[in-house]
Symmetry: C2
Subunit: 245 residues, 2 copies
DNA sequence: AAGTGGTCTAGACCACCTT
DNA sequence: AGGTGGTCTAGACCACTTT
């Protein structure tokens, strides 16, 4: 591989450099979501490295959820509506531990000036515009999650033109298809809170009822925050499920 | 590697077989926690495989948290009091996102017959004995977590002899050192609940106050459940933090 | 049959730790 | 200096998918 500056200061393995440039090319849209990358051999030849080295780079990208590999077929950039990524970031399960497909009722969708909270978590300039989306997610007929979502308008140009009737259920798929924004990582902070008047109305529960509060920040391929989501969940019939190693 | 039966039915790669037998040897205590395995070359020679194949097996065990590797030193079985594993399964952070060392106040420590819940989650026989431990965890002087822990007596022979004054703060380290039980995986279900009378007294909060309820099942090296832990957390000053990819 | 990713080898050399 | 894990290569062959 051609490297203009030799790596004296801090050693960087070859596969790491290959991985970084591959990620940049994916982020730049050279291989749009749903399409396949060139084969290992083709890429190895292009970079002038061995198949094993290129393979190691691709395997790391796989582990980070940035590509998906299929034996006999090839290496693809994943989409949310396929590749088993539907529930990748959806941790709410029912009592049997199963996922349910959520339906959304949208209560609010408009552009506004970013609040201090949004500025802080989305790393925006003060005064930046955000798209505010409020919706209730319904699982098997029951209103379970009341959530408020902030999207930086700079990341989603033209999102103002979408409204209550044109916004889809599955946002991350929508981000990818319409705005070339791919969410690959999620940071969440969980708390227990009491239902306020809005929660009470939208989730049909008494004021003061305990809710699971989730503050989510979604990061794109290049680790930039692209969504702040504040969810308040009724956990009477559902739980937030996690596995750690 | 010697394999008596060829792998006709479902293909099993060599490194997978090596990995499985290595894991069995670790679980059997051949290399106790804190000690080092033989070098890659020594193990490769022993199994009659190449260094690369043995390496792949060890790398998978590393990814699963079953061994720790140090360049220039060797491959070790991790302990909880070292190897950066102190906070591996401790997701509660303060407002600055930092971990705090928890101190415990023990309220109850005794053997009893397993409840239906304990039987179900710990996969016990009905009537099996468990060790019940109730404690409050104090972070920077504030009582934050009220928890009840059930341990199968079969997994921890002789644990009856420990009491309120001899049980340590960090249980997983204690499990490993005294009972050769290594926790490598955690399953958790989170809910929001209201504080009951006991929570109120122990955490110095009003009855009805919203608490984060965590049901944790801890699994050992061979994926057997070894602990059921029911925690109720005051999230006024702390949050449960998670990162997903 | 051809093309893809997945496994395995043997050997070389590099980076890091200990002595 | 010697030992350990970490990288890299070149080439072989296997398993899976598609044509």
């Amino acid at each position: 591989m051609d490297v203009s500056v030799p790596h004296k200061p801090s050693f960087q393995p070859l596969y790491q450099q290959v991985k970084d440039t591959l990620l940049k090319r994916i982020a730049a849209g050279e291989w749009p979501p749903g399409t396949f990358l060139p084969s290992e051999y083709a890429l190895a030849r292009e970079y002038g490295v061995s198949q094993g080295t290129l393979r190691k780079a691709l395997n790391e990208l796989t582990a980070e959820g940035r590509v998906v590999r299929y034996q006999g077929k090839g290496t693809a950039v994943p989409t949310f509506d396929a590749d088993q990524h539907l529930y990748r970031f959806f941790q709410i399960v029912n009592k049997q531990g199963g996922h349910e497909f959520p339906v959304s009722q949208i209560h609010c969708a408009r552009v506004e000036k970013a609040s201090k909270e949004a500025v802080a978590f989305l790393k925006l300039e003060t005064g930046a515009k955000v798209f505010r989306l409020e919706r209730v997610r319904v699982l098997e007929g029951v209103a379970v999650i009341n959530e408020r979502i902030y999207l930086p308008c700079a990341c989603f140009p033209g999102i103002e033109s979408y409204g209550m009737n044109t916004l889809p259920n599955t946002l991350y798929d929508f981000f990818q298809k319409k705005f070339q924004v791919t969410v690959v990582q999620i940071l969440e902070d969980l708390k227990a809170v009491s239902a306020d008047a809005t929660d009470s109305k939208r989730l049909d529960i008494p004021v003061g009822y305990p809710l699971l509060s989730i503050r989510r920040i979604a990061l794109d391929l290049e680790d930039r925050p692209v969504e702040l989501r504040l969810s308040r969940c009724n956990t009477a019939g559902h739980t937030y499920h996690i596995q750690l190693r």
